[in-house]
């Protein structure tokens, strides 16, 4: 894996930013994000951008990371990472993912024309006529809904469920990495601008060290995620997911604390990143859950029985 983006990757990231700009720019995106909405128009334009079609897993991961960094309410990142594992002719719009062994609400379920259902080793794809939802109060920066009933849908080939779950996690890791970077940048700007007792907060070493620590954690998630995407390997993804979940849990209260009470306001804008990080890590699962899964995979690898899968 290279540590500098390729020309293709740079072009794809630039295309993402151009589409956001052509769709009303950051202000419009921020206003939709502030209301926990879904940016259908932006998603549609991203889907229709030729530059963003195809690509390898890392290319698509980097797009998901960039969308999260920009703080938009689009689902194109997740869609891109799942796309090669799903039937080709899916309608445009968000793809919602439901793990039947989890009981929380599903992100974008009310807006999604497609629901991917992960049920142990099986995966099914349902269209909007095959499932019913009940909207949840919007929070954590995105619209959520509970799936109340569902039909059987189309069953995907054996082995797809495991890979879909892994790609879903990659999308969440990318989101946490992108959100963390923007949240740290916002916190940095606040520490430089905010003057207390005659000097900027950024001159206080107690805060500088905490911010630097946050920076190391965010950088760790970024590279563990990118490496996992590059190898598209289940074990690396779980390891990166553990780090992302742990980092999001630590960073959210830490960055809010450093920004003070103004970070509670919508106008300040930090919530776009912190609340989404909070939601993404809950969707990803706790570190206990992910740690147990990594242990299981490790045991399978050591016993030789999972050599073909991991």
């Amino acid at each position: 894996m290279r540590f500098q983006p390729t020309e293709t990757q740079l072009r794809r990231v630039a295309a993402v930013l151009q589409v956001i700009e052509s769709c009303g720019g950051q202000d419009r995106a921020a206003s939709i994000s502030a209301g926990c909405g879904y940016d259908r128009e932006l998603d549609e334009r991203l889907c229709n951008t030729a530059e963003l079609a195809g690509g390898d897993n890392l290319d698509r991961y980097l797009v998901a990371e960039e969308l999260a960094r920009a703080g938009v309410a689009a689902t194109f990142g997740l869609r891109g990472l799942l796309s090669d594992l799903l039937p080709a002719a899916l309608p445009h719009g968000p793809i919602a993912v439901l793990d039947v062994n989890r009981h929380g609400p599903t992100r974008f379920a009310a807006a999604a024309p497609v629901l991917v259902v992960l049920d142990g080793d099986e995966a099914h794809v349902l269209d909007s006529g095959e499932f019913a939802v009940e909207k949840e109060t919007e929070s954590f920066g995105y619209p959520y809904a509970h799936i109340r009933s569902r039909g059987g849908g189309v069953t995907l080939p054996q082995g797809t469920a495991e890979r879909l779950r892994s790609r879903w996690r990659l999308a969440l890791i990318a989101e946490i990495a992108g959100n963390a970077e923007s949240a740290i940048a916002g916190t940095s700007a606040h520490l430089c601008d905010r003057v207390q007792f005659g000097r900027p907060l950024s001159s206080l070493q107690a805060l500088r060290h905490r911010l630097a620590d946050a920076g190391v954690s965010a950088e760790s998630v970024r590279w563990l995620g990118r490496e996992a995407a590059y190898f598209d390997d289940l074990r690396r993804v779980v390891r990166a997911a553990w780090c992302a979940s742990d980092t999001a849990a630590a960073l959210v209260p830490e960055l809010v604390q450093m920004c003070g009470a103004r970070s509670f306001t919508l106008e300040f804008g930090l919530h776009v990143y912190t609340m989404r990080m909070g939601g993404a890590r809950l969707e990803l699962g706790s570190t206990d859950r992910l740690g147990a899964e990594l242990d299981q995979i490790t045991e399978l690898v050591e016993s030789g029985s999972g050599a073909d899968r991991f």
Binding site: Q205, A212, E219, E299
Partner: protein
């Protein structure tokens, strides 16, 4: 003998320190300890204890993150790009990994770590010096903060 050109000493110092900071792959040793310990933990049923599996994931993710951040710094060096920030990020990640693994070994082996030559004893002592070699971890945090905040707002 003078190293480098006159009045260019700070650059030489920074270059030497940046090589020292990431020159020793301490994360690789810590990863080997983690992997060995994981096997032992299974044999001794330690993985059934609350939170132990998550702590193994933490240790492994920390070592792997340190490795990637070191590689990132080396990549910047090879390309001739500024590497100060990357080296400091990597150095802090190395220290974190060493300490994380040490704490895991000690918590599992408990009093067995009192024996000189035990895994816990060795990892503890390795981790204790990790935050000091090549400039203290606090200096690395200062350098990362400078990269994030700019140099205008110097610490007091």
């Amino acid at each position: 003998m003078r190293l480098g050109a006159e009045n260019d000493g700070w650059r030489v110092v920074r270059t030497a320190l940046s090589h020292e900071r990431i020159g020793g792959p301490r994360y690789a040793r810590a990863m080997l300890v983690t992997q060995r310990l994981w096997q032992i933990a299974r044999e001794r049923q330690w993985c059934q204890r609350d939170g132990v599996r998550s702590r193994f994931a933490h240790a492994e993710a920390s070592c792997e993150a340190a490795r990637l951040l070191v590689y990132q710094a080396i990549d910047a060096r090879i390309d001739g790009r500024s590497e100060d920030r990357e080296v400091s990020l990597a150095r802090v990640a190395i220290v974190r990994a060493e300490r994380c693994v040490a704490e895991l070994v000690l918590s599992l082996y408990e009093d067995e770590s009192l024996d000189r030559g035990s895994m816990g004893n060795a990892q503890l002592k390795t981790s204790m010096i990790a935050g000091l070699g090549g400039g203290s971890v606090e200096v690395q945090l200062n350098m990362i903060a400078r990269a994030l905040l700019g140099s205008e707002a110097s610490p007091r």
